[in-house]
Symmetry: C2
Subunit: 243 residues, 2 copies
């Protein structure tokens, strides 16, 4: 079993953080646990059982215990998990104590919303710059931030390390923007454009396609409709729509 970090709080500069290689599925759930933990903490709870936290996060309790066990033993048998401790630990693992700088490229409908999205700031991210290729949009102020031309990207990146780039451009521009981001040192990209990006292997890309989500729902609608049309339609399955 992996050991606790004895180096006390944060500060990985000195000791090797003994980074556990967590299963990808677990990583994807950690933010959900974190949100539930914050919610519980605000409600005044000190500890929480795996059952309780699992319910708040919408998962199975065994799965939650196994997930948390991957990052060490932070629970007490017979009692549960210390909420404050677990929050710190999960935030550390996710690197949320770094207050990472985010830039948004493409100030259309979606980029506009992202620039003002409160959910980012409240979770340890700072939107520090907005870019667009359209000079008519340059200078426009959104959420107290002026839109800059994409040509200024390198200049901004030189001033402050951009941890994450968000692409909210039309798909035709997305690859070019990705290339630009990579060129200035961004190694994590969140892509809202419906297209495949090709990037160097050390760069992580996550894609969010709103239309795809609707299409998946549409499929299930279609399936449900054709099942109820069939004689003896069974509908005992319960869906656990995941990632």
């Amino acid at each position: 079993m992996s050991q606790h970090r004895h180096g006390s709080t944060s500060g990985e500069a000195g000791g090797v953080p003994a980074f556990p290689d967590l299963p990808e599925a677990t990583i994807a759930r950690l933010p959900e646990y974190l949100r539930a933990l914050h919610h519980l903490a605000e409600a005044g709870a000190e500890t929480v059982s795996s059952e309780g936290l699992a319910a708040a996060a919408g998962v199975n309790s065994a799965k939650l215990r196994k997930d948390l066990s991957h990052l060490g033993s932070y629970g007490t048998r017979g009692v549960g998990y210390d909420i404050a401790l677990l929050v710190d630990q999960v935030e550390y693992i996710l690197g949320l104590d770094k207050n990472r700088a985010v830039c948004v490229v493409g100030v259309g409908n979606l980029g506009h919303a992202l620039a003002g999205y409160a959910g980012f700031a409240s979770r340890g991210f700072r939107v520090v710059a907005l870019f667009d290729a359209d000079r008519k949009k340059v200078g426009e102020v959104i959420n107290g931030m002026a839109v800059r031309h994409i040509d200024d990207l390198a200049r901004v990146a030189a001033e402050e390390t951009l941890a994450i780039g968000v692409i909210a451009t039309p798909p035709t521009s997305a690859q070019a923007v990705a290339d630009l981001l990579v060129a200035v040192g961004v190694t994590s990209i969140l892509n809202f454009a419906p297209c495949v990006l090709s990037v160097p292997p050390n760069v992580d890309v996550r894609k969010v396609d709103l239309a795809i989500e609707l299409q998946i729902l549409s499929f299930h609608e279609h399936r449900k409709a054709s099942l109820t049309a069939l004689p003896g339609g069974r509908h005992d399955d319960q869906e656990a729509v995941g990632s």
Copy 2:
């Protein structure tokens, strides 16, 4: 194919086979394939090989072939897949020929963007109504559509069958909105609020949490940083688990 069910001949509209039960992972990729197919079709291609389509969709070719094989044999060995035929087939499977009506609840930053998102209309979805609980927003016109009060939801649902409801409210209101949507017969929900919704088993919920995506990227940033921080030496991810 060997998996065809010839048992029930209760044909639906026109010789369509009984609904194949596709793996969930396959369903999630079908929209991606569809997008790539449309792209290829616009470029003038008639057919495409699994290799080519896989590259355009950003997946492995073997996976693509297995996915497509689940919905029947629509390829020709030695040639590839007929693009037009495959487009029709995938669109049918996904139920995109139904031109489903979508409503958006919550006209904040994000809801505003969703109301105007062109990607919906271009893929067989019609945003037919916008709702908000804030009477100051009611009447505001977005993308040629007036925002209505949430109390009008039942009235709108009576006029037109709402296939999908999109929740873009603060998390505190999300459950109440979900209950309302379910009450008027909506059986598919796309939830942008960072919270867990509880709904009847026949209702599908998909969740999109933009902050979670950033947090997952943040984790990988953190991991990459701590790996490169290690002096090129030891890099054993093996845990010294005795016994």
